[in-house]
Amino acid sequence: MTRHLRFILIAFAVLSTAAAPEPIQRFPKPDFESGYERPIMQTPASRALTLEYLDVVVLIAALSLASYFVLKKRSRRYLFVLMLFSLIYFGFWRKGCVCSVGSVQNVVLAMFSNSYAIPLTVVAFFLLPLVFTLFFGRTFCAAVCPLGAAQDIFILKPKSLPGWLNETLSLIPYLYLGLSVLFAATGAGFLICRYDPFVGFFRFGASFDMILFGAFLLLLGTVVARPYCRFLCPYGVLLNWMSQLSRKHLSITPAECINCRLCEASCPFDAIKMPTAKSNEKKEQNTRRLALLLVLTPLVMALSGWAGSLLHVPLSRGHFTVALAEEIRLEDTGQRTERTDETDVFRATGKSTALLYEEARQIQRQFRTGGWLLGGFLGLIFCLKMIKLAIPSEQSLYEANRGTCLSCGRCLSYCPVGKEGVDVERIPQG
């Protein structure tokens, strides 16, 4: 009984502290006389490397097909089938975790960390869609990205958003990209993966909040087509840039646009540029506004950079070490009496607090530099947008906006040009 009691007492003492007990051989290894053989521990291997390479092959094939379907076949139906395949393969089969959107962070981490050796397959998933987009437009978004595909099948009654709202919301991805890069570079974590709204569906499991967020986006997506793609996706920012420079890009009409306006409302993403009325504004006035904006740009950048740097303290709390240091400080200054698991573990290691604080300060310094860059970047993006608005566009035809067009192919069938049995001459123009 006393033996039992002691066992209970020590048990409660030990079970209520948090420190990793080093394994101690308290009891000798038994010598069995009955010929008993110890079983062997099962250590199932992880996914074979060849299968990882197969994913890259599938990616290349899907990108090639998507580009072919958009530019040569000009067929929405083929694209749709390919999109379903991608949804099943990259989404449900690969469980959403071999992902170009998230790979941005791996690349950034590899650039800033000395210990992280980024797998080649991840580099491929980051680069290939960008390269394809540089040549053919965002065919990746059209039929390869599983996140895009998941939203695409929920587009039921797309409504057009007012221009100002579209422009404003489309600034969010820049912020999201900037923050994700900052977090990845400082080793604070991968925000894009953490807040991936659809990966939970692919795995049939996620936190309740994320499932709710995903469901909300899909529901919203019935009227505001592909909300994640247009107003959140950080990789979309890079794709947008590449697509603006693309060599070939989907063209709504197979030949010459005749301004029949038939395609005008066909794009659920508001990505069709429409002919603009000749502006009556004085050229002088425009030039003056432009000059003013150009002068203001560095000023805005400096200001927003400064604002970004001010945020380095709250932002850096996202880093494990900084959060730990803050907790330790709270405890050491008596502002909190409850210990946490984190602080218990830290104290058990016997590492000095001064060292921890120094590490945390260093990370905070990184966040301050990053905050400057992030703020400056956002300021620049904002100013560029304003400058673009100030330059009078001379649009005379219907044309896809190369940056925001997702190459989904929906508009193609609306164009009467070159269709059998359609006499272009008889369509009212303008």
């Binding site: 066992f7 020590i10 048990a11 079970l15 948090a18 990793a20 007990p21 080093e22 394994p23 051989q25 308290r26 009891f27 000798p28 290894k29 038994p30 069995f32 006389e33 009955s34 008993y36 110890r38 079983p39 062997i40 521990m41 099962q42 250590t43 199932p44 291997a45 992880s46 996914r47 490397l49 990882e52 975790c97 992902c99 998230g102 962070q105 791996n106 650039m111 992280y116 050796a117 980024i118 797998p119 080649l120 397959t121 580099v123 680069l127 390269v131 540089l134 953490r194 990966v199 939970g200 795995r203 049939f204 499991g205 996620a206 590449m242 420079l245 946490t340 698991d341 984190e342 573990v345």
Partner: protein, 190 residues
Amino acid sequence: MSLKTRRDFLKSGVNTAVALAMGGAAGFVVGKSGKGDLVWQLDPNICIQCENCATNCVLPESAVKCVHSYSMCGYCDLCSGYLEPGAKSRDTGAENQLCPTGAIKRTFIEDPYFEYEIDEKLCIGCGKCIKGCGAFGNGSLYLQVKHDRCVNCNECSIARSCPSNAFRRVPAETPYILRGEEADRYSAQI
């Protein structure tokens, strides 16, 4: 040159420049890359069995399970990983078991030894048994990410919430961090 062709010319120039720049960036990144894949694993020597592993995996059934180093096990009758600290008797009664799901199978081998085997299908990775074994036994029970289950998230959601920072990325060819003879056998295998 008309405005339009001049613009096109400029654009294709920039296009080429970007393509080249991307090639350069790719070279840089590939220079820092490794051929093989990386997967998540937890270091059992850092883990404090906080129970997050049971609940924080993205999978409905956690990819983290208890493993048993038979080579380290004392085959104790009074197993502190198997029995509740206040257990009335040393038998298989559910009220005496530490494991909330009854995932540990106790088999008599020979006097006075008992074998303990984890039924992986029942184990939820809560770490209760591990705490007990580590405190009074040989530490032959510990947690590991099982790689036939793990989907290898880009950011492991347990790793993010692990209070002891026990998770790290390890080469996919050696995806376990083992103890005892199992560790030696494992490294010899590779």
